[in-house]
Symmetry: C2
Subunit: 780 residues, 2 copies
């Protein structure tokens, strides 16, 4: 069941390039050309309108709607969902030439090219439109989002008549009228609207979601330049448009032959969401409203389009300086991994406190824009080693939503906090109870995230203010959700581990293992807190009603936790009875049966020893130093052949562990499409949005896999290897206030810091002090 | 967690009596006073209208609607449901006296009495209405359904002014306007309507369901009698009413003091449902339409109300003659068991081919009017020994819906036929996949039903025409749904047995046992068919593409079927790992936690060794002769303390087996409320409708429990015992063309046939020939 590339974009180490337009790839390209700055994200759709298949997706982190399915239910079963809601199309444009409306679905065009430049985040699209015989117009669309002033976006449309004068009409505005793709309806009420024309057009519109009362206030100016010269709009033929969910300005003019007509739109989008002060929001809206009323070129921003792009280039330059991965001898993976890093920074970089990472980032509506346990398990390592602030913000999201997790625990008849499997606001949004009620890994994943963050940064303040409270609440859940077997062993019953193809099992090894880890870690942190600053801890204890006997309970249950390990074979049994399940040879499943969720009867998936994704191998990666290579090999050899990798995260985990076991061919095969999963649309669903969490896994794949980075021991360790067809590669980790560059060639490994700092790293088992003079050793 | 009676009705051995009206019991009484004749059922609602809590329920067997919940799903998960739809209120009445509208919610009444007579099926309600000071009107409502001409119903309303003349207005009609309780909407379109007044009022209306196109044509005549004398309606002040979903006639007259004013309504209801010919239905409708147009007293029926009731009395007399149970010394249980038998015959007696028994019969809308595996497992024994035709019809329903079961198997990736857990039309209507996809007992239950029916009646024609085809298709499912464990044993994975508190388990003992039984029985029947009439079998084989190798597969899998039995303890393990589950002391659960489905987090139910209802004990009852008392005792003693009897069917099974094990006190305690579950509203939900299948279990409880009847061996066996506080009891079984009466006293057991026939019965292990002279032996 090998996945096959569907290559469409041109390979280039710093750019993503589409040459010529193929409508079959319309939505895939929309996803790939998404821009984002954590605060907002916009798909690469054709802003001028397009009558074929498309998703005019414009999203804001934390702006979501709520739905109530009509579905009878039992206690603890979620009867609603929250989803990231498609918002204002602030690039809204319509273009007419000689009365003909531009629509790439049927327009006669040549020289189509679209380029995303990963050095500055600029997306450019250009083509020549054959309006009619001997009437060609060259049109270029540029767009960029601000990475520093995240409410800002800019758009530039340039039109030049190539053959003779053309009558041009351009409509540009702000549109809340798009439907949500999954819900098939529009969820916005728009009461506040303004549009006026002076030196430029000034427009603003506010949308409010129907059920959740979230607000987006979108404002813009629209300037016209002719041959680079600002042209007052009130001197042109302008028409203002104000409809139910749309404001726009229509400008008609004659584009003389070879004249460069430019429309520059500066946009500012404000949001009102959970935790925001309505007063602050209102006063910001009022300030902008007043500026827009002036409708001067500088109402939204003083920068022009080019200087705006320069600002972004500087920001990205810093990113690449600290986070670039260079692959020598494999341009496809080079482009792929840069695309991954670019997307990771677009999705999340610590700009907005209190949000999380949706499964598709801000690039599409699949998975409802919900965040999963992927955040701590797959995304956090990337941020830990590239952007501390982002890592901290992600964990802070869990603290901010701790009360919701407490409520969820209560409805599940547990004590403490039970973190949701899928969420936006902190509420459990997964209406499949078999996942929402049976999967404990979101909760233990939060504990793991705290542990990982503390291990790398030693942030005692975070631990005292947020971390320990979460740990105690999660541990309370863990000692109330499980039970004792007749033999006195403690375990979790009726659970689903990471492997979602074994639904309702007892003593899932991952769940028990992570439960034990969480309890042990909590006990340790309580002890530390007691000795470090006992007054502070007393305050916390009082706040959450913590009793000293609880620590004893945590300890006792941890001691009695059942870890199903078979000493003779060195294999962990995934859950009670796993070894007695009927065996299914996964290679015998016809390729047409995939994805199994669509083609197999739902229950059929759960009747054998096939697994969807790593489960035992997962905790052996997370706590790698706890296991010998012999143990790892035994479990890898047992579980890998049973795994069908139906989760997009599965191959990377296998690749990393295969690299550790010197299974070089397997490691590279599993790495295979990791960096290019979306660029080459391996899963044939990139059109729905980017696989954001897989992108994080691709980074791990190189750094943890070939780089051999391990971070769970006392000191961080690396043990690089190199794929056969690479000449060399380098990656950077930001650690202990230093940026460490690791260069690997066929012969040797070189480590150095990029500034004056020194760090201690274990390489191939030898502890070394690394500075900017570098350390070199042969490749093992 | 003892259940407590909520006694409201007066005890009487042949009647159910309500003395005085208490609105708190309004819906309970509506359910208890339901009338039914298998074809249609009507709740005991106040036909004159009632503004407090009520359910104006009027149902027709096989008349159902369909709904599509908006719920994303996977393959094999039902995304719609079918439900018995509330239909025409053919008793629709409104009564005014001196301009005041009668409504028992606020009317000043005395002498309220309601009586259901189980000797003739007549329901009578009467009271004195104090219209105003010194203006009393006595009103009596009578209603009955025909048991022989099942489309027919009659209603009589009698009013007498007791003090002085009263101006009376009575509106009577046919109303399709009621809402469905669960769906909270009306599902009928009514295009065909007529109402005219001549000697009597003639009215008719047709309703058609919106989604399923089922039709009900309801027609009636309404006659007025004054002091027993027919009074032409066109001589009175009459008004005809025709609204969107209602036709009615309003009659105004002065009721002189002591004058007896009677309104007699004769109703005929035609239905058009699955399998009916539209042409036949239309021609019947036309015939009645023509008669109604005449509006003569005899348009619907020649019988008057009293003779109509006499006809029913004769029918019921025959029922009691063959099926009565007499309990000496316990009037409450006497009334209770008669009520059960009465309800069983009302619900189903073989009048209509191709229908089944809904969980609430025709008395309410809970469980959507769907039929469950209860039909074969709990209801069939009653019909087998009381009404062969009904038993055969029930099995015929499964044959009629075999194609739907084939389609269901296909969508579940199985071969053969997979019978639905909940159904009306044969389609799976349970939208909880964990039941619909994981429970195999509906299918093996059909095989059991066929086996049982054949065992008692030896109906070779049924087997050749219907039975064997079903058996082969079920066996095909059984050999495709299961799988082999690594040790070569065959079993079923990811299943739910009868015990619904262990959801998704492997090798459920009941499922494996019943699977093996079904395969063995099918092989035997194939062999018999081959030797008996091989041409007929060849025809079947050709029709269903049966290959001789299939029989070998059935045999092989049966041989390898894993039955988890522990020789040392003699206990069957309910499923893989059951003995290792955490133990829950069910007696420790606070009574306020019940029902657990409402008060516990859904998943919490599934994390321990608590069981909802018998599972291992169930097959030990069905195939009782296969097990020694020692085995039975070991399993009873192990499983009973773990059972919370959350299914209303559970206590009867335990009572029957406790009786067998001479646990007399337990047997009587579990019997406890079996016969009076609804009369005394033990589950506090009788208002939703009668527990029809529990009623069947109550019968089993006496006949199989105290009577000790067993029918799975070569000869039917009885082994009576008697509860301590009974003086004696008798029951009848209709078997081998004879009616056998079994009389049990404290001292002895007497068996005799009630006519000339002779039957062979094993009593306390001795095989005896029984005739009408009787056989007597001491009670053991």
């Amino acid at each position: 069941m090998a996945k096959v590339a569907d290559k469409y974009f041109k390979t280039d180490s710093w750019k993503v390039i589409e040459e010529g337009f193929n409508p079959d790839y319309g939505k895939v390209a929309e996803s790939i050309f998404s821009l984002g700055n954590e605060y907002m994200g916009i798909r690469g759709y054709f802003e001028e309108g397009y009558s074929k298949d498309k998703l005019i997706g414009s999203y804001f982190n934390g702006i979501y709607e709520r739905t109530k399915p009509e579905y009878g239910h039992y206690k603890g079963i979620t009867d609603f969902s929250e989803y990231m809601v498609n918002s204002v199309n602030y690039l809204y444009t319509r273009i007419e030439a000689d009365g003909k409306i531009l629509d790439l679905a049927d327009a006669d065009i040549t020289d189509f090219e679209r380029v995303l430049d990963m050095k500055n985040g600029l997306l450019t699209r250009s083509f020549v439109w054959n309006v009619s015989a001997g009437k060609r117009v060259k049109i270029t669309f540029d767009r960029a989002l601000s990475m520093t002033d995240v409410e800002m976006a800019m758009q530039r449309i340039t039109a030049t008549a190539l053959d003779s004068d053309v009558e041009v009409a351009v409509t540009s505005g702000l549109d809340f009228g798009e439907f949500h793709m999954m819900q098939k309806k529009n969820m916005w009420n728009c009461d506040r609207k303004s549009v006026n024309v002076a030196a430029v057009a000034g427009m603003a519109i506010e949308g409010e979601t129907i059920n959740t009362g979230k607000k987006v206030y979108s404002a813009c100016t629209l300037e016209c330049l002719i041959d680079g010269v600002h042209t007052e709009l009130n001197g042109l033929n302008c028409e203002t448009i104000s409809e139910e969910k749309l404001v726009a300005t229509k400008i008609k003019l004659t584009a003389g032959k070879d004249q460069k007509i430019e429309f520059v739109k500066k946009i500012r989008n404000l949001t009102f969401k959970d935790g925001d002060s309505e007063g602050d929001y209102e006063s910001e809206v009022k300030t902008i409203e007043a500026k827009i009323a002036d409708a001067s070129v500088d109402s939204i921003a003083v920068e022009n389009f080019d200087s705006f792009v320069d600002t972004q280039a500087k920001w990205w330059d810093n990113v690449w300086k600290h986070s670039d991965i260079i692959i020598d001898g494999d341009e496809e993976n080079q482009q792929g991994i840069r695309f991954c890093i670019f997307q990771m920074f677009q999705t999340y970089h610590g700009a907005v406190k209190g949000t999380n990472i949706g499964a598709k980032g801000l690039t599409g509506e699949a998975y409802n824009g919900n965040a999963f346990w992927d955040t701590e398990t797959y995304c956090l390592p990337f941020f830990i080693f590239n952007n501390k602030e982002a890592a901290k913000n992600l964990l802070y999201f869990r603290y901010k939503t701790l009360d919701e997790a407490r409520k969820r625990a209560e409805v599940l008849d547990c004590r403490g906090a039970f973190y949701p499997i899928a969420t936006i606001s902190g509420k459990e949004c997964c209406d499949l109870w078999q996942h929402a009620s049976l999967q404990l890994q979101a909760s233990t994943g939060v504990a793991y995230g705290i542990w990982f963050y503390e291990k790398i940064f030693g942030d005692k303040e975070f631990m005292a203010d947020y971390g320990l409270e979460m740990l105690i609440e999660i541990s309370r859940m863990l000692v109330s959700r499980g039970d004792y077997a007749p033999d006195g062993k403690y375990g979790y019953y009726a659970v689903m581990g990471p492997d979602e193809f074994q639904m309702m099992v007892n003593n899932n090894c991952y769940t028990n293992y992570m439960g034990k880890f969480t309890l042990d870690y909590t006990v340790k942190k309580i002890d530390e807190a007691l000795s470090a600053n006992s007054a502070k801890f007393e305050e916390l204890a009082k706040k959450i009603g913590y009793d000293p006997s609880e620590k004893e309970e945590f300890k006792e249950i941890s001691e009695k936790m059942f870890i199903p390990y078979h000493e003779d074979t060195k294999i962990f049994e995934q859950h009670d009875g796993f070894f007695k399940l009927p065996h299914l040879d996964v290679d015998e499943i016809p390729i047409t049966d995939f994805p199994l969720y669509s083609n197999w009867s739902y229950d059929r998936i759960y009747r054998n020893d096939m697994i969807k994704q790593p489960d035992v191998l997962m905790f052996m990666l997370l706590f790698n130093s706890q296991f010998s290579d012999e143990q790892l090999r035994a479990n890898y050899d047992f579980y890998e052949p049973r795994c069908i990798h139906e989760s997009s995260l599965s191959p990377s985990v296998h690749s990393i562990l295969a690299a550790q076991l010197h299974k070089e061919e397997e490691a590279y095969n599993f790495f295979g499409f990791a960096t290019r999963m979306d660029l080459d649309n391996y899963n044939r669903n990139t059109g729905e949005g980017i696989h954001t969490t897989s992108i994080a896994a691709a980074w791990m794949n190189i750094v943890y896999g070939f780089g051999g980075l391990r971070t769970d021991g006392d000191c961080i360790r690396i043990a690089p290897s190199i794929p056969k067809n690479w000449k060399g590669y380098s990656f950077k980790i930001n650690y202990d206030d230093a940026t460490v560059e690791v260069n690997v060639t066929k012969e040797k490994v070189n480590l150095k810091t990029t500034d004056d700092s020194k760090v201690t790293i274990q390489i191939y088992g030898n502890t070394e002090a690394i500075d900017n003079k570098g350390y070199e050793c042969p490749l093992e």
